[in-house]
Every structure is written in C-alpha cells, then in structure tokens.
C-alpha cells in the first residue's frame, strides 16, 4: 500500500486518502450500500425472468415448487436468520470491544453459513437424482404422473428448474464469498484488530451478510411456497 511521504500523523487504520476516521467510515458505509444496490439489480434480472415465467406457466411452477424439499428449505431459512442474528450480535460485540465474544460469534456465523451450503448441496443432489437438473438428462415425467390434476408441460417445467438452479446457485455463490469474507474478519478479530473506534470492516461485512440473507428470504417463498395447498 502506498504511503505518501507527506503524511505527518495518522490514526491507527486511517488510510492516506482520507482526512479522518469519520470520513473513512462514511465512505466505507456508502460504498457497501451502493454495492448492495448493484446486487439488487443483479438478482433483479433473474427475479424479473421468474415473475414473467411464473405468470405464463403457473401450473408447471407450482408442480416444480412442490417437488423441492420444503423441510430443508425451512431449516435453511432458520439457519440464515440465526446467522444474521449472530452477525448483528457480533457488530454489537465489536462496538463494545469484546474481542472473544466477537470471534465466537463470527465463528458461529461461519458454521451456520457452511450448514446452509451443506443443506443446499443435499437439495441439489436430490434434484440430480430425480432428473430435475436442466439439460440433457432432464425429465419432468415423474411430475406429470405425480400431479395429474395440474396440467404440466415438460418445457416450462424445465424453465422452473433452470431458474431454481440459477437463483439458488448464484445465492450460494454469494454465501461462499460471504463465508470467505467472514473467515478473513474472524482472523483479524482474533488478532485484535477491531476496536470500538475502528470496526468498520465488521459493520460492512455484516451489511453484506444481511443482504445475502434477505435475498434468501425472497427466494424461499418464491421457489418453495408457490402452491402448497392440499391437492384435491
């Protein structure tokens, strides 16, 4: 990192382009919020595709939705909500300067994130077994036979699953990145880098994690809960 020779004194952690810590904090915060806005637009494209196709192909989307495991999905939702709790508590711990608590909470967050990914992996594997992965080996035959009351065409069903994999896949990728970020944060927290005066990385890392959580909060009902009414 380039240090300019013209700096006379600087606070711990103050980067050279900023005038003071408050400016640095504000900049980091605004930067993360803007980045999250871009993420909303990023996921937004897929949500738009989802909305259009769900409107056109409701029966197929309903059938597809019934075929994914609602128990695992609900567990995952609970896992993520808990992880957001640990993140929020971690930020609080950082503000209070409680290093050990912070590290513990960050570690729990990581574990919960990994649990989410593991469960997601199980769900994907199930889909693979059922030939619901789009591509050459895709087959909606089992759904057609299982739900004769819902009139299903194979092609739109594949679209449901394409969107399912694209959306949960992209979300999972963001989770993986989040786990990586939190590993980094945990390491530095353990080394004592974060103080009540300086814990911006924890805050903005927390913002990112909450965002990924919120995306899941939208994905869960849209993918899992389309139509769970008991069938006649």
């Amino acid at each position: 990192m380039a240090d300019t020779p013209l700096m006379t004194e600087h606070e711990e952690g103050l980067q050279h382009q900023f005038v003071d810590m408050e400016q640095q904090r504000n900049a980091a915060s605004l930067g993360m919020w803007l980045f999250l806005a871009t993420e909303i637009m990023f996921f937004g494209g897929m949500f738009l595709a989802y909305l259009v196709y769900r409107y056109w192909y409701y029966p197929e989307f309903a059938a597809g939705s019934r075929s994914i495991d609602i128990v695992l999905g609900t567990v995952n939702t609970a896992v993520l909500i808990c992880s957001s709790l640990t993140v929020a508590l971690g930020v609080k711990a950082a503000q209070l300067g409680k290093r050990k608590t912070l590290v513990t909470l960050l570690l729990i967050t990581i574990l919960l994130g990994l649990a989410f990914l593991a469960i997601k992996g199980i769900e994907w594997y199930d889909k693979f077994e059922e030939h619901h992965v789009p591509g050459r080996s895709f087959s909606a035959q089992d759904l057609i036979e299982k739900y004769p009351q819902i009139h299903i065409d194979p092609a739109p069903t594949q679209i449901y699953f394409s969107l399912y994999f694209a959306m949960t896949g992209l979300h999972a990728l963001h989770m993986i990145i989040g786990v990586g970020i939190f590993a980094f944060l945990t390491y530095h927290a353990w080394k004592g880098r974060y103080t009540p005066e300086y814990h911006t990385p924890i805050e903005i890392g927390g913002l990112y994690w909450h965002f990924v959580d919120i995306v899941w909060i939208y994905l869960f009902p849209l993918l899992y809960l389309i139509d769970r009414k008991p069938l006649k």
Binding site: M1, A2, T4, L6, Q15, H16, Q17, F18, V19, Q23, N26, A27, L30, G31, L34, F35, A37, T38, E39, M41, F42, F43, G44, G45, M46, L48, A49, V52, Y53, Y57, P134, G135, R136, F138, D153, A155, P156, Q158, I159, S162, L163, F165, A166, L170
Partner: protein
C-alpha cells in the same frame, strides 16, 4: 532542449518519477498511474476494434462478398462492436480522465477506494485477456447484441468466452462507478458544495449512477446466456418454452443506458473546454448539471425503443416512443447552453476547443437523427438498417470519441507535464472531423434506401455510397493515428508545460504539471464559484508544443 527537460524533471518529484520499475506501476494505488494504465489498455483495444472496422469497410467496397468469408465478416462486426463498446468506449473517459481528474477536481488525495480502483483495472485486463483469447481462437459471430436463440442455440462460435469476458468487464465498470460516487459524495474539499463542482464531475456522477444500476442487469443477462449455452438451461429458447423477447428486454435495459455511459462523460469534457476557451462561465450551470441527472434517469425508461418491430405490443411501443422524446430534451438543453456560452466570449481555437466545437456539431446531428428513430412510423422502415448505424456512430464517434480526444488534449499538459505540438493537434482534429463525416453521412442515405445492417454482401445500387463511406474511413484512421504518435513523442520531446497553460478554472489546475502523488501540498479550501473566468486571467500566448 533535451538536456533542459532532463534537468527540470529531475528537480521536482511528481507521480511519474516518484518510483520506477514495473512493480511500482502494476501495484500502484495512485489514481493517476491507474489512469495511465487504463489509457494504455484501451488504446490497444481501440486499434484492435479499429482494425476490424477497416476490414469491414474494405469488404463493403464491393457489393459481392469477396474479401472475407461470410462467417468471418459476421465475426468482424460482432467483435468490432464488443471491443469498441466494452474495451474502449465504456471505460474511456471515466477510467482515464475520470480516474485522473476526479480526486483532483474535488480536492482529494485519491479516490475513496484506491485498491478497488486497481482491482477495476485488473478486472478489465482479465476480461481483455479472455476477449483476446476469444478473438484469436475464432471469435464470436452473434453481433454485440447476442440475440437469442441464435446466440444460445445456433451459433458455433465462442459465445461463452465472449459472454464471460464482458461479464467481468462489467464488474470493472461497476467498481469504477462505485468509487466515483463515494468520492464525490464524501471527499469534497471544504467549501466545495455541489453547486461549485465542475460540470465534468456532475457528468461523471450521472454516468456512475448508470454504471452502478444498469451494468448488473447486463451481467446477469449474459450469465444466463452462458448458462443456457453451457448447461442447457432453456430460459430464452422458445424451443424449450423460453422467450427470446425476454432476453431483448433484459439486454436493452442495460444497453440503452449504456449509451449514456458513453456520452455523458464527453459532455462533461465539453462543459470544461468551452468555458475555458471562451473565457466565461458556463451559461446555465444548474440547467446543465440537472440535465446530466435527467439524462441518467430518463435513460433507464426508454430501452424498448430498440424493439419497436420485435413483436412488443402496440401500446407499449407508443409509451416507449413518447418517453424517448423526453430524454432528448436535456440533451438539447446542453447543446443550447454550450452555444450560449460562446456568445460574447473571448474565444481561442486551440485543439481542445476544435474538438469541443466539432462535438457540438456532430452530436447535434446524431441526436437529431435520434428523433427520427424515436418516431414509430419511421423506425419501422429504418431500424436494423444503416440509418441506425450512422446514428449511433455520429454519437459514439462524432460525439464520445471527439470528446475523449478533446479531453486528452486539454488535460495532456496536466497529465504529462508536456505540450503536444499544436499545429499537428489542429490538423488531426480537422482530419478526424472531415473523415468522420465522409464515413458516416452516406450511411444515413443508405439506411433510408433500405440497406440492412450486418450485411456482408449487398445489391449493387448501394455501392457508390459504400465507397464514399470507406474512403472517409481511411481519412478517419489517419486522424486517429496522429495523436497516438505525437502524444508519445511529446512525453519525451514536448515543450514543458506550466501548471495552467490554458488559464483554466478548476482545482486540478492549481497544482503542478505533472501533479505530485498526493495531488496537493495542502488540502485546498474552496471559496469561489465554478468557472470563475472573470477572476482568472487568460494566458497571453497560445501554448504550442
């Protein structure tokens, strides 16, 4: 002369000589060095894209397809578009001039996130590498527009590589925009209120908003195309229940605002040059500033004017046509304000001013032909013809590139500490202007006659106009090569420049040429309005390199 330059540069330390060696450049976080890294990268790709254009124009000299094969031609226009848009135009002013100037114009030492700035450059390098790989191993032939199902299910070329490359380039663009917005919001010097900001900053700000909000949509769209091709996810393929029009909506939702990413910074450059060389403040500062924001906002509302014959409903076509006219108004306001700035000025015709005046003329023509395209009845006839090609080249080349060149010339003394040779600068500007008009004006006529775009061969009655166009393109090429040569020349042999050779307003001119790494010796405090040309004396002599 040569010895004098050597001793002077050795005396004072600035951002260019503060550290030598490849590592000091490749690991720099200095926004000024990063700007030069971008300059090098996009210049290379400008000439690659230009080379493809030359081949296209050579093929079109004759009605028959006799220079290259049809498939090759299809790859040429596709890659010309992709390279020029994503590796030249979109980065150009923001990544070169913006990176260099934004911190200085707001009185800061650097951008808000210097390491992310460097990351942006590396992302562009990575995506450029992938694009080069794509080109060398056979290219892509989908057009830069990647329409489905051709791109997902029928093309036999490297669609996935091209898509991945542009996906990564998009993130470079997003991060640059993010850096600028945070810097402008949070790092302005004391006293520098929004209404005292240079209009270049307003333009960059508006551009950055578009980059932030629009580019992610392109990213996800291309990602879905790549998934469809790689994994068979049939989201846009009608054979699998998908809708090709959904692709078009998602694609144009970014790609229309993208054209404003390409033009707004040029407008910002012109807003700096005209007042300086007229020695008076901009006429209607607030109007021009707000017009930039208006263009950014309205630009997001008009995307489906690219789809009037695509099969959208009659009524949505009407709505988009009407909205498209609304976005023309702020652009018109700017043209009027620039012209009014020249009124009762004291005008000097240095090279930057020539480019700025050329910009106004050519952007006016290009913008006016946009009115033709927004008219539904006309668009049905001229869409997908050379009329559209002429329209967007008038704006992109006659507008954006001329603004870019004008900006390079204007800030060259600040960037390099040297002056370029003025007479060559004027000559090149004139060559570009003449070559450009000869290349693209005939294409309006070709379009109305009915010559479709992306045609490798064409009926013989279109030949004369095509020959004129090709002739113009050779002249244009000369006009582009010249600055590259004399800018490089000037870095070694050019006359040394003063801190403010043009007598221009703006914080960047209050520091040395070239600036020290930390830009300012002390944080400036701004107590004056923008464009205070009543207080700044005009330089006695026109600086000539």
């Amino acid at each position: 002369m040569a010895t004098a330059t050597a001793t002077i540069t050795a005396e004072r330390e600035h951002y260019l000589n503060t550290d030598y060696g490849i590592r000091s450049w490749l690991l720099t976080t200095d926004h000024k060095r990063i700007a030069l890294l971008y300059l090098a990268l996009i210049t290379v790709f400008f000439f690659i894209g230009g080379f493809f254009a030359l081949l296209i124009r050579l093929e079109l000299l004759t009605p028959a397809g006799d220079l290259v094969q049809a498939d090759t031609y299809n790859k040429l226009f596709s890659m010309h578009g992709q390279v020029m848009i994503f590796f030249f135009l979109i980065p150009s002013i923001p990544a070169v001039l913006g990176n260099f100037l934004v911190p200085m114009m707001v009185g800061a030492k650097d951008l808000a996130f210097p390491r992310i700035n460097l990351l942006s450059w590396y992302l562009l390098v990575l995506s450029a590498g992938i694009m080069l790989y794509c080109i060398i191993t056979g290219g892509v032939d989908t057009g830069w527009t990647f329409y489905t199902p051709f791109s997902t299910a029928f093309s036999n070329t490297h669609v996935i590589e091209a898509g991945v490359s542009i996906f990564i380039a998009g993130f470079s663009s997003i991060l640059t925009g993010l850096n600028f917005v945070v810097t402008i919001h949070r790092m302005r010097a004391p006293g520098l209120t929004w209404s005292r900001l240079p209009l270049f900053i307003w333009s960059i700000y508006a551009t950055s908003i578009i980059q932030l909000l629009g580019t992610p949509v392109l990213a996800i769209t291309l990602l879905l195309v790549v998934f469809e091709r790689a994994f068979g996810l049939g989201i846009f393929d009608p054979a699998r229940g998908g809708d090709p029009l959904l692709f078009q909506h998602l694609f144009w939702f970014y790609s229309h605002p993208a054209v404003y990413i390409m033009i707004l910074p040029s407008m910002g450059v012109v807003s700096e040059i005209i007042p300086c060389f007229s020695r008076k403040r901009v006429f209607g500062y607030s109007a021009v500033a707000l017009a930039s924001i208006a263009i950014a906002v309205f630009g997001f509302l008009v995307w489906a004017h690219h789809m009037f014959v695509a099969g959208i409903s009659l009524y949505s076509a009407m709505i988009f046509s009407m909205l498209s006219y609304s976005v023309a108004v702020p652009s018109a306001i700017k043209v009027f304000n620039w012209t009014a700035t020249m009124y009762k000025g004291s005008i000097r015709f240095s090279t930057p001013m020539l480019y700025a005046m050329g910009f106004i003329g050519l952007f006016t023509i290009g913008g006016l032909t946009g009115l033709f395209l927004a008219a539904l009845g006309i668009d049905v006839h001229v869409t997908d013809t050379y009329f559209v090609v002429a329209h967007f080249h008038y704006i992109m080349v006659g507008g954006a590139v001329m603004g870019y060149l004008g900006g390079l010339h204007f800030w060259w003394p600040k960037i390099s500490g040297r002056l370029y040779p003025e007479w060559l600068g004027k000559f090149a500007a004139l060559t570009v202007f003449l070559g450009f008009n000869l290349t693209f004006f005939p294409q309006f006529i070709l379009g109305y006659l009915g010559m479709p775009r992306r045609y490798w061969q064409y009926p013989p009655e279109f030949q004369v106009l095509n020959v004129l166009s090709t002739a113009g393109s050779t002249i244009l090429a000369v006009g582009y090569v010249l600055p590259m040569i004399y800018f490089l020349w000037s870095m070694r042999y050019g006359k040394i420049a003063d801190p403010n050779p043009w007598g221009a307003a703006g914080l960047e001119w209050k520091t040395q040429s070239p600036p020290p790494t930390s830009n300012f010796d002390e944080t400036p405090e701004v107590t004056w309005e923008a464009y205070n040309y009543d207080e700044i004396p005009a330089p006695e002599e026109v600086p000539v390199g």
